[in-house]
């Protein structure tokens, strides 16, 4: 985790410093208000210190940029990861549905559904909430690549 933080804050700038080829590290990230960026920077402790080469506006974009440049590294939602990029192991733990669920993969954050305090949910909203947190939905969510509650 520390290495990742050092890379993103610009203390490590060349892949050879971490055992790779002699090539400049190209930092790809998200734009300033992005939830993904906020999650990443909070977990890695690099808030406000990241020295990005590119600030892209979507996860898909980050994946495309990384897949095109052999020297690039970026963060993206697990759900969007494709074969065109390699998902790195953090602290020896590779990201997958299982390691996210049991918490061993460190860089993660939960999706939250926000409701208004003090008022009960409308019927439709309540049914949606029940559906999303049910076992039935779990299958759909997994297929889409994200990690369900169950």
């Amino acid at each position: 985790m520390e290495t990742i933080a050092q890379i993103y804050t610009g203390q490590i700038t060349n892949w050879k410093e971490v055992g790779g080829d002699d090539a400049e590290i190209v930092l790809i990230g998200r734009e300033s208000n992005s939830g993904t960026r906020d999650g990443f920077e909070t977990v890695t402790g690099t808030a406000d210190q990241c020295k990005y080469r590119q600030e892209l506006t979507s996860t898909g974009d980050v994946i495309t940029a990384v897949s095109q440049n052999p020297g690039a590294i970026g963060y993206a939602s697990l759900a969007s990861v494709k074969d065109s990029v390699k998902a790195l192991a953090v602290g020896g733990v590779t990201p997958s549905e299982a390691t996210v669920k049991d918490g061993s993969y460190a860089i993660q954050r939960p999706f939250v559904l926000v409701t208004k305090t003090g008022t009960a949910l409308s019927e439709t909203a309540q049914s949606f909430f029940d559906f999303v947190t049910s076992a039935e939905a779990a299958g759909i969510i997994s297929d889409a690549g994200a990690v369900p509650v169950h």
């Binding site: 506006t57 979507s58 898909g60 994946i63 495309t64 759909i140």
Partner: protein, 287 residues
Amino acid sequence: MEHKTISGRRKAYGGVMRVLMLFSVAVTCALALFLIGYVLYKGVPNLSWELLSTKPSYLSGTIGILPDILNTIYVVIATLIIVLPLGVGAAIYLSEYAGSKRLVAVIEYAAETLSGIPSIIYGLVGMLFFCQFLNMKTSLLAGSLTLVIMNLPTVMRTTQESLKTVPQSYREGAFGLGAGKWRVVRTVVLPGCVDGVVTGCILSVGRILGETAALLYTAGFAHALYGFFDGLQNAGATLTVALYVYAKEQGEFEVAFAIASILMVLALLINLAASLTGKYFKKRRSL
């Protein structure tokens, strides 16, 4: 008679200019060929009936662009329905009714200004005015209205151009026969400007097809299937917006290139339509 030869310096000048011209043309053609070729090469293999006729769904794991096609059609229809009366009316005012020259100058300056404003500012103001202030939410209708303002100058200009070609003697003849102004406009002037209106339509459709920034913030990018009137009230992506979203946000390049190919073919058809109607009306007028 003396035969003067061209001096060496002049010959060199001519030669250099020729080279520059040919080089530029070559560059332009090469760019055009490359763009068209690359897009078609990457896009056509991905075109399939399935792509064109379904909607995207995680449940069935498909990506289809039918909603986007429908949304594009809806937006084009809605925009044209509104912009034609507005644009033609404004053009008629300028050419037939306007009294003071200053007012004409002001209106024309306003139209010119409108056509120079970048589409992202239209998107922003459209979002603020139509979606928030008028409470239309993110919807195709808000997008259409924004596009109406964007295309108003185009329709106005082409209509004005063709109004100018209606001979003044036609109008004078009608007045001489005792017709009121409105009747003259209705029966003599309007039929004469049809070609300008048609050209304006075609140009507007071309512009609408190519528009992303203005629509992204006013019409959103949903992919649900609706009928015309429901569709107008809901958010939806047109083909071009969908292309942007698929390419940039989801990295689905196959779909993006397929859409790009479709758009390119449509652009070609529009160009064809524009030049054909231009020729047709030219012939009619010279009869």
